[in-house]
């Protein structure tokens, strides 16, 4: 198995490290030609979604990645990755990949002083999970066929829709690999 990690900006090395620890090969996607390599799954890491979205567009990677997701390749998206996947961003007309039928709110908890650690999050199918929220988004609403996997204080922070698994927090920073294992 080989997992591709979007590596145009953000905390992609942290995901690669988790994959390495789990004995899974990974490759970086930095430009369109990297998409010609073979891979069985895709990780969209944290970072700044405005930067990642812009680079996906300008490096001609947006449409090919969207097609791969629509064709069913498994995706794990964290934080900014969730924003890239969302069909709608609250208060913003921008749509990046738009393959996940949810509405997401960016910087939903405010600026850095609103960032927080939630020690006892609950993730469906996994159980208790430590969650790091960094200038994090949350999901405001979902379409009926989206499965809600985690909520924190009444806000949706983890969802699954077909082949797409998306969370508002950072499992790659928690030292707990169970969400990655669940994805794999």
């Amino acid at each position: 198995m080989r997992i591709a990690v979007l590596a145009v900006q953000g905390a992609f090395e942290e995901h690669e490290k988790v994959l390495w620890e789990l004995g899974v090969e990974s490759i970086q996607l930095r430009k369109a030609s990297d998409l010609n390599k073979e891979f069985d799954g895709l990780i969209l890491p944290g970072g700044e979604s405005t930067v990642q979205g812009k680079l996906l567009r300008e490096l001609s990677m947006l449409q090919p990645i969207r097609s791969r997701i629509q064709d069913g390749i498994p995706v794990l998206a964290t934080c900014a990755g969730l924003i890239l996947l969302a069909e709608h961003i609250a208060g913003d007309d921008t749509v990046h990949l738009g393959t996940l039928p949810v509405t997401v709110r960016r910087n939903a908890y405010g600026r850095q002083l609103g960032s927080f650690h939630y020690a006892n999050g609950y993730f469906q199918g996994i159980g208790s999970f430590p969650m790091e929220f960094i200038r994090a988004p949350y999901v405001e609403s979902v379409s009926d066929d989206v499965n809600i996997l985690a909520t924190v204080e009444d806000h949706i922070v983890g969802v699954q829709y077909k082949n797409q698994l998306a969370v508002a927090f950072h499992p790659e920073l928690s030292g707990d690999y169970r969400i990655h294992e669940y994805f794999l």
Binding site: V8, G10, F12, R30, K31, G47, V51, D92, R111, L113
Partner: protein, 283 residues
């Protein structure tokens, strides 16, 4: 270590592979965001103008910083003077995302840096070498950048500082454990931080390049030397075509080993900032 410090280090991790741009107005901030900046540094005068104007340079007007916070959705950083913990308190009070305790402004204290462990807000600090970086980290910095020479468009100092840091990290990584005690004493830093560097072959926090980046090639040079991202100060809004140059630097950082892409990006960027070779200035 407290939880907030961990969150602050992690915000820096999210900025990696990105470009942080100096801006002086909400309009410039919007240009920077549209060009792909992962954060902006709000300041009244960019370093090149601070150098030219002389005099005392202080924290920016909070009103101007708040204007920039309203204009963009990406993190907003701002600078306070070295040792000026009240300026830092004010920046924390206006909910800034990161404070740069910066040598670009006139120092407010000739002996002491701010005790950054007393703050919830994150700090980035400049360093010329490993000892300086680890001292700032012990004081509570959650991100480090090279000092370079801000406002010059001359990359030589940033390169020198990055190489000094890399060389020291490589040396410590190769040491026997019983040599680390003396190394900690020599650097004037706590043993636990030296041990971290020895075990992990890197700084305990994210390390960006800053001070003199003017071209896409400069940015890629710093990335190939091991920087995890780049600050660009005067280099963008002191150049002929800020938007195009900012765009090109962002892409060059994302693909810093792809020479043919960077060559393409470097075409027709207009005039680079007028460099000041540091040997010719007395700042």
């Amino acid at each position: 270590m407290n939880r907030q410090y961990e969150l602050n280090k992690e915000l820096a991790q999210m900025l990696k592979g990105g470009v942080i741009m100096d801006v002086t107005t909400p309009e410039q901030a919007k240009i920077a965001e549209a060009a792909g900046a992962c954060a902006v540094m709000a300041l009244e005068r960019i370093p090149a103008d601070i150098r030219a104007a002389g005099g005392v340079s202080r924290m920016s007007d909070p009103k101007m910083i708040c204007g920039i916070q309203k204009a963009v959705s990406i993190p907003v950083m701002a600078k306070c003077r070295i040792g000026h913990f009240v300026e830092a308190q004010l920046l924390e009070a206006i909910d800034i995302d990161y404070i740069d305790e910066s040598e670009v402004l006139t120092p407010a204290d000739d002996s002491y840096h701010i005790d950054k462990t007393k703050f919830r807000v994150p700090f980035v600090c400049g360093a010329k070498d490993l000892g300086e970086a680890l001292r700032r980290i012990k004081e509570g910095a959650s991100m480090i950048r090279t000092k370079g020479e801000a406002g010059t468009g001359d990359i030589v100092h940033a390169v020198h500082h990055m190489r000094m840091m890399n060389r020291a990290i490589a040396a410590i990584s190769a040491m026997r454990e019983d040599e680390l005690f003396d190394e900690a004493k020599r650097l004037g830093v706590p043993y636990d931080l030296v041990q971290y560097v020895h075990d992990n072959k890197r700084l305990p926090v994210v390390n960006f390049a800053a001070g003199g980046v003017a071209t896409p090639a400069d940015a890629a040079l710093m990335m190939q030397l091991g920087a995890e991202g780049v600050f660009v100060g005067s280099g963008i809004f002191k150049s002929g075509n800020p938007q195009k140059r900012a765009n090109a630097i962002v892409k060059a950082v994302a693909n810093y080993t792809d020479a043919s892409m960077i060559a393409e990006l470097s075409k027709d960027l207009g005039e680079a900032m007028v460099g000041i070779h540091i040997g010719e200035t007395n700042v």
